[in-house]
Amino acid sequence: MKSRCPLFKFKAMKLTKKLSKVFSRNKAPKRELTVEQKISRRNFISFGSFLVLGGAAYGGWRWLYTSPNEVPGITGEAHKPLRAVLNANEKVVRQLYSNKNLVKTYPKEMAAKVVRHNSDIGSEGLIDIDAWKLSVKKHTGEMLNIGIDEIKKLPKTEIIYDFKCVEGWDQISHWGGVKFSDFIAHFKLDAETRFEYVGMETPDKEYYVGVDMPSAMHPQTLLAYEVNEKPLPPKHGAPLRLIIPVKYGIKNLKRIGSISFSSNRPPDYWAEQGYDYYAGL
């Protein structure tokens, strides 16, 4: 075996020499570019790609800005691609969500004396509190009708926290009521909590929200009947409203008429008008 090697080596060397000659012939020595040529060449490439990519970016922006709205449904009024992003963001944010993350609470003295009131949709005018009943629709079709006194008998929870409106204002306010999770346990609605969403409506069905189950079962979510230790006035949603600190104000439905449970997203007043469905904090 070894004896063959020198010859082989010799041949191989000849071959590489030949090959390198062939290749070096192809690489005819170019005249080196002058500095001026280098400058203009690099300028051409840089400014050319700058313009092309700048134009592409502008085109991309126009595409997005003029993109059609989504088909109206549970959500509506948002540019289609932007709605997809809102929904994708929700998936990311839900990964971070934990019922152990609590909203900051404040001492009683810090609560606003005049609690801000933004909208009357679904809770205009007065309501006959004695005649009012909360209807809870169970998945079996069974319906519970619960009066306000029955709710007030449940253990009371108070919270003083910074209420946050989607518009951008926030206000420390003091609410009292029953924890939504206590309410569920008391009325033996545990079977309903395996659904993904809770839907709530005002008695006139003018205002309605959908809330994901983890947020509804958050330990700071209340069915509130008091503000500043007094029964809710009509404009704050008498006799019973939702106080859900892990959501923007838009989800804090006033004057609850009915509660239902669903695996699909229940209708939501502001999600139909271009807002994020999740609206979580």
Binding site: S46, F47, F50, W61, K104, V166, E167, G274, Y275, D276
Partner: protein
């Protein structure tokens, strides 16, 4: 003789330019959000100097009644803003470019001289290198501000899930104010930046697109007085 001198690496140029439209869109969509509750004023001793913003400003930019749209745009472009900033900062650290950028112990004294020089009060120009001392402070500050926008933004976006961030910002309410103040800071930075770029001229401007500056190097004199040692160094 003209010589090409490399100045800005490709990635630093790109992240710089990409940031411009992203930040513009973030500020614009931020205005759509701010309009819904435009309560910020600049008040000292109960005298209001500035109220953001006059109605004419809103009308001219078609700002009113677009809160939902503003939020949707803001929560898309926030990703690009963060990603672009992450790219810039990581590259600056890994490439070692931060040495040219981060202020050192002389920078604050020197920056004052740069200001005096720019205002034509002081004749001697302080050392320039890639960035002068004032640029080091300004360009590092703008990165810190960008990071501040990210943190305050997250604190506003999910104040309960990121309650520790809200706490760092002094609470939700203050986080929003910081977020707003930083934006005003960008606008002021932008104004000064553009004036400085115009004054610095074409060679400087081109370097942020092409990456290089052209400098006129004087040919060495035929008779060299310098010793051989220093010659080696200059080569």
């Amino acid at each position: 003789m003209k010589v090409i001198k490399e100045k800005h690496p490709l990635l630093m140029r790109w992240t710089h330019w990409v940031n411009f439209p992203i930040l513009s869109i973030m500020i614009w969509s931020g205005l759509l959000i701010y309009w819904a509750n435009d309560t910020y004023t600049f008040t000292i001793f109960s005298v209001t100097f500035i109220r953001f913003f006059p109605q004419g400003f809103y009308d001219a930019l078609h700002i009113p009644r677009r809160l939902a749209e503003g939020m949707a745009f803001h929560f898309l472009f926030m990703w690009f803003f963060a990603l672009n900033g992450f790219l810039y900062v990581s590259y600056t650290i890994i490439s070692g470019q931060w040495r040219e950028l981060v202020p050192n112990r002389h920078s604050f004294k020197e920056a004052w001289r740069v200001v005096l020089h720019d205002l034509h009060i002081r004749k001697m120009a302080p050392p320039q290198n890639k960035y002068n001392a004032a640029q080091r402070i300004a360009y590092t500050a703008i990165i810190v501000m960008g990071f501040g926008s990210l943190i305050t933004g997250l604190a506003i976006y999910k104040p309960v899930q990121f309650n520790y961030l809200a706490w760092i910002c002094g609470g939700y309410h203050l986080a929003r104010i910081w977020h707003f103040v930083l934006t005003i800071g960008y606008v002021l930075f932008f104004l000064v930046h553009v004036v400085q770029v115009v004054l610095a001229g074409w060679n400087n401007f081109r370097s942020v697109i092409s990456g290089f500056e052209v400098i006129d190097e004087k040919p060495l004199p035929a008779i060299q007085i310098q010793s051989d040692e220093t010659n080696e160094k200059t080569e």
